[in-house]
Amino acid sequence: MRTDQYQGHDYYEMDELLTDEHKLIRDAARAWIKKDVSPIIEDYYERSEFPSQVIPGLAEIGAFGPYIPTEYGGAGMDQIAYGLIMQELERCDSGLRSTASVQSSLVMYPIWKYGTEEQKQKFLPKLASGEYIGCFGLTEPDHGSNPGGMITNFKDQGDHYLLNGAKLWISNSPFAQVAVVWAKNEDGRINGLLVERGMEGFTTPEMKGKWSLRASATGELVFDNVKVPKENLLPGRSGLGAPLSCLDSARYGIAWGAIGAALDCYDSALRYSKERNQFGKPIAGFQLQQKKLAEMITEITKAQLLTLRLGQLRNEGRATSAQISMAKRNNVEMALKVAREARQIHGGMGVTNEYPIMRHMMNLESVVTYEGTHDIHLLITGLDITGENAFV
């Protein structure tokens, strides 16, 4: 891959709505990525391997739970700082962002919100520093968009719980030290359990053959009569709302992340269009290419405004699940469209690994599916505005 020449784009001068600290956090993340990740990402992507050497750097820039209070090893930052970090990570690669999203929103968040003081002390500082990597097990082989139908379950055995079942499509699972696992109790109510590597009967086979998110490891979680200590149950909340609240946090991060991927594609396309000459002039001078570029920056700008406003609402604790869902759906679809148009602007070069476009495009196919598919998010908005449930 070429050297990373990325520059941010801020058509509506939204930087003025950020604090100096936000900009410092964003620019530090960008600088670290250019130095340590951009030079290796394409290679790891092609080898279908997670570059585990970036974990300490991710912790340094604050990518693991930046909004978790400092007493638990977090940075105590606001939601916009979190969003900006996710944007910069996904600007580089959606897989990199996925690893950080899962750690922050799907592992640290539920422990922080629903865990006991002992659980917080035991896990959060290690997750913040990257010493531990966590994963989140909700999806099952037969329950994707419908996680409420899950069959993974646990039984009270007096001094411990006995956990059985299997989870599929779990990011970070192959090397995670701790898994936040959602399973049903004997009454059929969903609860979160902290399952630790090394517990007997717990295995995490890696899934191979993804054409997307290749630099992020995905695997299964298999529970064969796993004895889970009682103190590993998250007591703070039960029911489907518990995992869904984690998804709110992660989807919010994805909304920012998708802007990052779109910005990288646009940035590359804009630069390429000015440098590439055909028929005696830069292709940026042809109306059809300008149409593509103009539409790209328009859609990116709209998404930036939508998402910053969502960040403000989240800072005030007022963002609804439906608002977050809309941003996730809109921004990921926007990024996919931008990636496809950007690919065309790069001509034949656009299909090579010299440019990041195809990698983004393939990554975004996972992003449009996980954390609620595009269709499911349409149904969420549909339900919210009509009051009619169209899921079943």
């Binding site: 520059q7 410092l24 956090i25 530090a28 340094e60 400092t70 940075a75 105590g76």
Partner: protein, 246 residues
């Protein structure tokens, strides 16, 4: 060891340069400012390394208005202990040197580190003048700096080799490439910077000695002519008749 590091802002290298006020002022509208790279990457980071090795403090000093606060916060996030901002607009190199010297003279610094120049006006004057005003030795454009006891051992890149220089502390050094590696502020540093002191000090009465009459942009580059490698005659004739260099 007490170390003082000069920090100034400079436009990002991708900035489109233009001027206002009849071509006498740089147009700062829509310009992204960064910490002057020579100050940040070399002077500040080397100062921090020396502090980490020998103990002491690193204070930054900036001559400028509140618009400099973001770059000062960045220097604090990278690791400086505290910051001083002399609250006035920089007029010229002499004025900045006087302001720094007026502040530093009563504060007992062992080492004053500055960038070899700012990447905007490239004046390269502040270090030398600050040293003179404080009656301290000065080593310019140093690419290496070690401290042993009260002696500094420095290296300077000179034509075809390296010059090794020794000087006693207190000392003023202007720092060039090679002195240290860039440090990216981490989240801990950014959090710590929130509560580090940024002391705003009113300026002394030092004024500038020079006035900018006019800025002009460089002449636009002409079109490139590509001559086929086989076509020596055409190249020679172009160099002779058009470029008039042979």
């Amino acid at each position: 060891m007490k170390i003082l590091v000069g920090i100034s802002k400079a436009p990002d290298t991708t900035t489109k340069i233009s001027f206002t006020d009849n071509n006498t002022k740089f147009n700062e509208d829509k310009v992204q400012f960064i910490v002057n790279p020579y100050d940040e990457w070399y002077a500040l980071v080397r100062g921090l390394e020396l502090k980490e090795k020998n103990g002491g403090t690193v204070t930054t000093i900036t001559v400028g208005g509140t618009d400099h606060d973001p770059i000062i916060r960045k220097a604090l996030a990278i690791g400086a202990d505290d910051a001083v901002r002399i609250n006035t607009e920089a007029a010229d190199g002499y004025m900045v040197a006087r302001q720094i010297a007026d502040y530093a003279k009563d504060n007992g610094y062992d080492l004053i580190l500055l960038g070899k120049e700012t990447i905007d006006y490239n004046g390269s004057m502040v270090g030398g003048m600050t040293a003179e005003l404080l009656d301290m030795p000065y080593v310019s454009v140093a690419s290496k700096l070690e401290i042993e006891g009260r002696t500094a051992i420095l290296e300077r890149d000179v034509q075809g080799g390296i010059e090794v220089v020794e000087a006693d502390l207190p000392l003023v050094v202007s720092c060039a490439k090679g002195m240290a590696e860039q440090r990216i502020p981490n989240m801990r540093g950014i959090m710590a910077a929130r509560t580090k002191p940024l002391n705003v000090i009113e300026p002394s009465d030092a004024k500038g000695l020079t006035r900018v009459v006019e800025y002009n942009l460089p002449v636009e580059k002409g079109e490139v002519k590509i001559v086929d490698a086989e076509n020596m005659d055409e190249l020679v004739s172009l160099l002779h008749n058009e470029a008039k260099v042979i």
